[in-house]
């Protein structure tokens, strides 16, 4: 099995979604929000760090007001580029502004069973199976914990999940399911086993943490404590805003970007104040709430615009971005899923978001579908190909060949054709068969994608994790379980 990871790099396509003046205006608005309105940090440790650096702290409301100067100064120590390390160093991912990688999406609660097709509650075995299939695909560059291992105790669930992924894949693991200091410390211990100690882990972070903010203008206390632990040990850490128009953010896009930005950069600044130089990333999956239900939409023009605009903001702060794309609101792999996942991923890719999250979900990141996972991988490949644009040089203009064929000939027999035919994209799941072949079978992408996932699960053998490391990890996990 190939160890290659597909990424978008050296793109020819460009999009200017916000002018530098507009970005500055959003930045100024953000600083105004943090200074005048404040952001909630319900963590004693976080409040103390803010107070020690001269921010105004309202302990009763746990709200911090920090000057623009303090925020801007703190952000200066963010490293602009670093790599997400993988268990297999060949699969390290440079977050350098010139690569777009896609991960599995997370963190869902149900799975469409790969064998029976039945929709059911997610469990640990699903985390293993998804990791194993993702390990085999070229497109998935890193894992997000995809579904919740609901058959494991809540206190150690997040740890069982990352262990299961490491045991089934050599690629980088990112979790959004470590919610407190204790879990974060255990996760660091586990990651250090793979890296070969804590100092090595700092150089080769095989684990990264993503914490959701609590919009509008708040953070979760446990998540904040976990993020501080991760930053202390040099694990890349990001805050993700999901501030949504109408509910957790204003109805207007610019205002919602400012709310989300205030959450992300205040959290990021805190990590830098505590541990200057800690690797951090910006994360966002902003959307509009549905006008009728108030629910998460997981798609639509607003998502597409946020997908492109957010990387402009993270570039302004010179930190990598993890952008929510895919994550359709569709209930099954269908027209809506195709539109939402293609456009959101295209818009996030054309601005070179470093990480995209991610493949595999239906119903707004709630229901895992193996067919959707494989089709999302194909969407990424299509966009990757599109982003390469059109190369114009003597070789690609092919004048000699055009002259040789002349009016009325055909190009099938030309050496130039043989040489370049593999430049043409070959889809796995698009139906380009003659009509009668389709008529006889009446199958489609969903069937082929599911079949591919099944074969992969059956055949793919990931490089195993050292059994001793597995056993050590199990001990770390069981320590709090025994208490």
């Amino acid at each position: 099995m190939s160890k290659t990871i597909q990424s978008i790099t050296n793109p020819k396509l460009r999009l200017e979604i916000l002018t530098p003046q507009e970005v500055k205006k959003i930045h100024d608005a953000t600083l105004w929000i943090i200074e005048k309105v404040g952001v909630r940090f319900p963590s004693q440790r976080a409040l103390e760090i803010w107070a020690a650096h001269g921010a105004e702290v309202d302990h009763a409301r746990m709200v911090v007001r920090a000057s623009g100067e303090l925020i801007e100064k703190a952000l200066q120590t963010c490293p602009p580029a670093y790599s997400l390390a993988a268990r297999d160093p060949q699969q390290d991912l440079p977050l350098d502004g010139n690569h777009v990688f896609v991960g599995t999406d997370g963190c869902g609660v149900e799975v469409i069973d790969i064998q029976t097709g039945e929709r059911r509650v997610s469990r640990l075995q699903d985390v293993r199976d998804i990791a194993r299939i993702a390990d085999a695909t070229e497109q998935v560059g890193f894992h997000w914990v995809p579904v919740s291992a609901q058959d494991m105790p809540p206190e150690t669930r997040g740890l069982h999940e990352i262990k299961a992924i490491w045991e089934n894949s050599t690629k980088h693991v990112q979790t959004e399911s470590v919610y407190n200091e204790r879990e974060a410390r255990a996760a660091v211990e586990m990651a250090a086993l793979i890296a070969g100690g804590k100092e090595q882990l700092r150089k080769r972070p095989v684990l990264s943490l993503m914490q959701c903010s609590a919009p509008p203008l708040g953070h979760d206390g446990g998540s904040m404590d976990a993020a501080l632990v991760a930053a202390e040990y040099g694990l890349p850490t990001g805050f993700m805003t999901m501030a949504a128009n109408l509910t957790t953010g204003p109805a207007t896009l610019a205002g919602n970007l400012a709310v989300g930005n205030a959450e992300v950069i205040s959290g990021t600044a805190l990590l830098q104040l505590a541990f200057p130089g800690a690797p951090v990333f910006y994360a966002a999956a902003q959307t509009a709430s549905d006008l009728r239900t108030g629910g998460y939409t997981g798609g639509g023009p607003e998502d597409f615009l946020y997908g492109a605009a957010t990387n402009v903001l993270s570039d302004y702060y010179n930190i990598p971005l993890s952008m929510g794309s895919f994550a359709t609101g569709a209930k099954e792999p269908n027209w809506q899923a195709g539109i939402e996942n293609s456009l959101s991923t295209f818009m996030a890719s054309i601005v070179m978001s470093d990480m995209l999250l991610g493949v595999g979900f239906l119903h707004g990141s709630r229901i895992w579908s193996y067919a959707e996972m494989m089709m999302d991988c194909e969407i990424f490949s299509i966009i990757q190909k599109t982003m390469q644009g059109i190369v114009v040089d003597d070789e690609t203009l092919a004048l000699d060949t055009i002259a040789a064929v002349g009016p009325g000939g055909n190009f099938m027999t030309q050496k130039h054709t043989l040489k370049h035919m593999r430049d043409v994209f070959l889809p796995q799941f698009m139906d380009r068969r003659p009509f009668n072949e389709w008529e006889a079978r009446q199958d489609d992408a969903r069937d082929w994608a599911l079949a591919k996932a099944r074969t992969t699960l059956e055949k793919h053998q990931p490089d195993p994790l050292d059994e001793k490391i597995s056993a050590e990890m199990a001990k770390i996990i069981s320590a709090p379980e025994k208490k």
Partner: protein, 216 residues
């Protein structure tokens, strides 16, 4: 004779204008209008109209929520006068709402609260990160008919079950219906913890609450 006032009251709710609604409520008290009449002939008409436009796709959720808030403001203003006169609104039921312990996600729960209250339920909203014991205590204190439990994380969702188990232990389970909500909540989960129902959105929650009270 109060038609003009009632019309303005309905309009204030339609406009989602809490200040105007409260001012009209005060005006009614000063003019000696029966507070219950003001509610049923005035403000409720506005809520119903917004509800109808919502149902046929002409109004959207923010309009419903703002109408609900205006209604709440009006009722709160009329409350002292109702007490003075010794009258009470007929409510559909008493609901205790909370986001469970360990979970700070508020907005969905609050939307449900506003919609329930606008639909004629007495709502006791305990806020977020509420331990089971506090929820149970409130249920007993007010004699609640319904409990609504919100959770956004699979790790905190288990607390919904804890509350149900506690109600069971105290022999309150037959009397008190439990509805649950939050992104990770599914029908399977509802069956597993033996809750009485769930909804994925605030409008559905109102329908559910009415059904559980036998009012729809």
């Amino acid at each position: 004779m109060n038609e003009d006032l009632y019309q303005k009251m309905a309009q204030s709710v339609l406009d989602g204008d809490s200040d105007a609604a409260a001012a009209l409520a005060r005006q009614a008290i000063a003019a000696g209008v029966d507070p219950l009449e003001a509610i049923t002939q005035g403000f409720v008409k506005g809520v119903n109209t917004v509800g109808e436009s919502f149902a046929c796709g002409q109004a959207f959720l923010p309009e419903l929520v703002m109408a609900g808030e205006a209604m709440k403001a009006a009722v709160a203003t009329l409350e002292p006068e109702m007490q003075k006169r010794g009258v009470q609104r007929t409510m559909l039921g008493k609901v205790v709402l909370a986001t469970v312990e360990g979970d700070i996600h508020e907005i969905g729960k609050s939307l449900v609260g506003t919609m329930l209250s606008a639909s004629g339920f007495q709502v006791y909203d305990l806020g977020v990160d509420v331990p089971a014991a506090r929820i149970i205590a409130k249920v007993q204190e007010v004699g609640a008919d319904l409990v609504g439990l919100s959770a956004l994380l699979t790790t905190t969702m288990v607390k919904q079950k804890e509350v149900i188990d506690e109600l069971d232990k105290l022999g309150l389970r037959k009397k008190v219906k439990v509805m649950v909500g939050g992104a990770p909540v599914t029908r399977d989960w509802v069956q597993k913890i033996e809750a009485d129902g769930y909804s994925e959105d605030a409008i559905g929650a109102v329908g559910l609450a009415k059904r559980l009270m036998g009012a729809a």
